[in-house]
């Protein structure tokens, strides 16, 4: 999107997936649109643009936020992680591997949001796989999926936590 630069444009400096990025944006530009349209990171999906569906979830300084509810200018000086930051070149992240193994995605539209939510949950509680089903489901209830009925997502998050632990122990 070649958004014409308005007179009140601001410069935003932020880190995206570990890389320093700079953009000149209108104050009203959403962070989601900055990522998608200006920086070309289209893995962050917009499902509702009012903060309910969770498809646009990213990590902002490590915390999950809805990038449709954050202005680009609010990300100035902060670190953003998107789904594009998960895989290491050709190798999928262990959490992505778990999603694939458990068929935790069908159309894939909600998947980036679920991955980042799950990554945050696992980092906050590396033993989240040992929690009971109800707690895990509550923790994931901020993201909507219309295809899978959630069962395989729950299984994938559990398995992803185990895989991440194993990867860390090996490292």
């Amino acid at each position: 999107m070649s958004v014409p630069v308005a007179q009140d444009a601001r410069t935003v400096n932020l880190t995206v997936n570990g890389e320093a990025r700079t953009a000149t944006v209108e104050p009203r530009l959403l962070l989601a649109d900055l990522l998608r349209e200006v920086l070309g990171l289209r893995g962050t999906h917009l499902g509702c643009e009012h903060g309910v569906c969770g498809a646009c979830t990213i990590l902002l300084d490590g915390e999950p936020v809805r990038s449709c509810l954050v202005l680009a200018v609010q990300a100035d000086g902060r670190a953003v992680m998107t789904v594009e930051g998960l895989a290491d070149d050709d190798a999928l992240h262990p959490l992505q591997e778990a999603f694939r193994e458990h068929h935790a995605l069908q159309c894939g539209f909600c998947t980036p949001g679920f991955l980042l939510t799950a990554l945050y949950l696992i980092e906050a509680d590396p033993a989240i796989d040992e929690r009971d089903e109800r707690e895990l489901r509550e923790a994931l209830s901020g993201n909507l999926c219309r295809c899978t009925g959630y069962q395989n997502i729950v299984d994938a998050v559990r398995d992803g936590a185990v895989r991440l632990r194993t990867t860390k122990e090996r490292a």
Binding site: P4, R42, H50, G108, R146, C147, Y150
Partner: protein
């Protein structure tokens, strides 16, 4: 087998309609009616046109003369015509109807300018309720009609009146099924490129109907099909709503022509609630007759379907389908249905997973519950006494011919799971503790493998029912499959690749599947819906693969100096049976076919590909049992699942992982129907929803784990034996869930007559029950 597209989707590299860009691309925003019914007095777009970054504002006055109305491909007998166009110029009939299109440098600027377009509306009386719409004094949506009834369909078999006269027991149910919709997480979107030099249109669209969309564009624009190329990128779910051809697809194409620039429009979520077809809403009154020994002798039903403001692509098809499925899986000799499709000032009705089948299943299975109570026999025993037995197939139901079924086996296996998990005892124990726990069962049958073409055409459907596949072995021995079906997340490309891999003896990794391009993919008759991808699509792949396989064998036999009947194909090798060292590879055969004609048999033509069509001889009929075990909190009205069991028969299972995924998602949507989702309107047709806070989709916290078992009885009609599964999960869930809730509240004798069963609804019903029992006590 794991899915091939997953690494791309998991790493954020999937490209959906909203991710596509073109050099110089502009963005569109629609101005939509805020009123349910109004005349447009004037539209003043002068200011909008002069705003910075704005390239065009289109209204109905700017549409080309001769532009066609939005087509309806399902022309059932006797239905009225309700023409509407890409943009409406004179009179809007629902809130959300598009009246103008603004094209600008960014979506932000397009929306700014859209808000600067001034429309003077002359509000007209309106109606937002289907029963009010058939009242004598109802406002009329179409002035030259005597009423708001768009179509009446009636069908009858046997002697219904006599059956009711002679019945020992008669039960009646009156149910209201709410308006809700497919609601894929990705909304719709269009990207149009119109080459002004060649006068060619490329339309990227999030659609389930690749060639049908192209043909309808051709009809509406008056432009030959070969100058229109429809392309479908990654799709973020469809569930039927993207089976339709929308005004926005025409309007955005015209905007691209008007501006000579690529134009993209992506529906926002509010628009999706208003501009994407709605589904399901019906009021049904139905009556069932039976003998005292539990033989169901007759069913009659009167169905009132809320069509919304106009007939969309599939006409009133879903309402019709409810009516003809009214006997479900039961051998009922007498039946009579009347279905009326009624216009109201609401968004047009259309397709959603299952079409009219969930409603039919809901009313029949509710009647079966009532009948079992009235006869005081076990409801599953009542089912067993009335199932069409296996030796009565093919069985002529009210309208359709059912191909095959082992219904009692399927039900018994599900009840076996229930017993294995000790639910009957556990429910008793929980009740003894004062908990409100119940078990609900629903048995469904599903119409799949749509065609056959001639039957569809005879019924008024201006679409084929076949599929065509093209299979090509490349010079390097790899295989390319071209399909007209669209991948929308269901995994159809994986399933077709597996079928093809088996036929040619190659690994699925050696196969690329190409979809989503009307210029290069073979024509699909009906599009991607009606649970037909694996069955009809799969059978056409097998047919084309069979032709290619024969040619491979002929070439290999020549190269090996062997007889074709002595050859086997495995792992990409073609070898003489019993002597694996007498072998040629698929690559060697491919090289002979394209490059080294010197290696071909003398009379063999070069090339190694085949195109084949499959049109099913009949529809296929999968079936299954849903069992819901729920607990109700009588203090809050909250319903919680303790378990969910599912046993079904879809014929041959190509990929159990994909099939289970379809069931999980379908049941979740059926639970959404039963408990959560509603597009509520006021009585005038003003929408009472705008966000996901009003339209409640179930989350991981609401949907239970679903235990699935597959009974596998290959279809006798489909090569490969696949029946299809896409819609199966959604059909029986509402009836099972509602039955379980009533069972949980048996102490209060609560009767549920409408969905969704929200906590507020349940608390009201419990209040009524308390008043009743208080009244009875005094």
């Amino acid at each position: 087998m794991r899915r091939r597209e997953d690494p791309e989707l998991l790493s954020g590299k999937g490209r959906y309609i909203g991710d596509l860009t073109r050099p110089g691309m502009l963005h569109a925003a629609f101005l939509r009616s805020p009123l349910p019914h109004a005349r447009i007095v004037s539209i003043d777009a002068q200011q909008a046109r002069s705003m910075p970054g704005v390239h065009a504002v289109l209204t109905a006055d700017d549409l080309p003369p001769g532009l066609g109305a939005q087509p309806c491909t399902h022309l059932f007998q006797g239905q009225r015509e309700t023409p509407f166009y890409a943009l409406t110029g004179d009179r809007v009939r629902y809130a959300g109807e598009p009246v103008a299109l603004v094209v600008a440098e960014s979506p932000y600027l397009a929306e700014d300018a859209r808000d600067a377009v001034v429309v003077e509306w002359d509000a007209l009386p309106s109606v937002g309720d289907v029963e009010a719409a058939i009242a004598d004094d109802a406002p009329l949506l179409y002035d030259d009609w005597p009423d708001n009834v768009v179509a009446v369909f009636e069908q009858e078999m046997g002697d219904v009146d006599r059956a009711f006269e002679e019945a020992d027991v008669v039960v009646t149910e009156r149910l209201r099924i709410q308006r809700h919709f497919a609601c894929s997480l990705e909304t719709r979107g269009v990207l149009a490129e119109w080459d002004p030099m060649l006068d060619e249109l490329t339309l990227w669209t999030s659609s389930q109907i690749l060639h049908i969309a192209r043909d309808l564009l051709s009809d509406v624009l008056g432009m030959p099909e070969h100058r229109i190329r429809v392309r479908v990128p990654r799709m973020g779910g469809g569930f039927g709503a993207k089976f339709h051809f929308y005004p926005e697809e025409v309007a955005v194409a015209l905007a691209a022509r008007a501006t000579a620039r690529p134009v993209r429009w992506v529906e926002d979520r509010l628009e999706s609630f208003l501009a994407t077809v709605h589904a399901r809403e019906q009021v049904i009154e139905a009556t069932m007759a039976a003998t005292e020994d539990g033989r169901i002798t007759a069913v009659k039903a009167d169905i009132l379907g809320d069509l919304g403001a106009a007939l969309h692509t599939v006409g009133y098809g879903p309402i019709w389908l409810t009516s003809v499925m009214i006997t479900n899986v039961y051998e009922v000799p007498n039946a009579r249905v009347r279905a009326r499709a009624v216009a109201t000032n609401k968004t047009p009705l259309g397709s959603y997973r299952g079409w009219g089948q969930p409603q039919a299943n809901f009313i029949v299975e509710r009647l079966v519950d009532s009948m079992a109570r009235a006869l005081d026999i076990d409801v599953n025993e009542l089912r067993r006494r009335n199932f069409v037995p296996p030796d009565h197939f093919p069985y002529k139901s009210l309208h359709h011919v059912f191909d095959s079924g082992r219904y009692a086996d399927c039900l018994d296996r599900a009840l076996g799971m229930l017993a294995e998990r000790n639910w009957p005892q556990r429910v008793e124990d929980m009740r003894a503790e004062g908990r409100h726990v119940g078990i609900g069962v629903a048995f469904y049958v599903e119409n799949s493998a749509l065609g056959p073409s001639r039957i569809l055409n005879a019924g008024g459907v201006e679409q084929g029912g076949y599929d065509i596949s093209r299979v090509r072995v490349e010079p390097g021995g790899e295989v390319t499959l071209y399909t007209g079906l669209c991948e929308m997340g269901q995994g159809v490309k994986n399933a077709l690749a597996q079928v093809l891999a088996d036929e040619l003896g190659v690994h699925p990794d050696q196969i690329a599947v190409v979809d989503g391009d009307s210029h290069i993919c073979p024509y699909t008759g009906y599009g991607t819906g009606a649970s037909r991808g694996a069955s009809v699509g799969g059978a056409s792949v097998m047919k084309a693969a069979g032709i290619v396989r024969e040619k491979i064998a002929r070439i290999a036999a020549h190269m090996l100096e062997a007889d074709t009947s002595d050859l086997e194909m495995e792992d990409g090798d073609i070898f003489v049976r019993g002597s694996r060292d007498r072998v040629v590879t698929m690559a060697e055969v491919g090289r002979a076919a394209y490059i080294r004609a010197i290696d071909l048999p003398e009379d063999e033509e070069p090339g190694l590909e085949a195109v084949a069509a499959f049109d099913p001889p009949q529809m296929a009929w999968p079936y299954g049992t849903n069992i819901a075990i729920v607990e109700v909190d009588v203090g809050t009205g909250k319903v919680e699942f303790l378990d969910y069991l599912y046993v079904h028969d879809i014929g041959t299972v190509i990929n159990p992982m994909l099939v289970d995924g379809q069931i999980h998602g379908g049941v979740a949507q059926g639970i959404g129907t039963a408990l959560y989702e509603e597009l509520q309107y006021d009585l005038d047709g003003q929408p009472l929803f705008a966000t996901f806070m009003e339209y409640v989709l179930p989350t991981a916290a609401e949907i239970p784990r679903i235990a699935i078992e597959h009974q596998v009885t290959p279809s006798p009609l489909i090569p490969g034996g696949m029946k299809g599964v896409g819609e199966a999960g959604v059909i029986g869930a509402p009836a099972a869930v509602v039955s379980a809730i009533e069972d949980a509240l048996r102490a209060y004798d609560v009767r549920i007559s409408a969905t969704p069963v929200t906590p507020a609804t349940l608390l009201d019903l419990l209040d009524e029950a308390a008043t009743r029992s208080h009244g009875a006590a005094t």
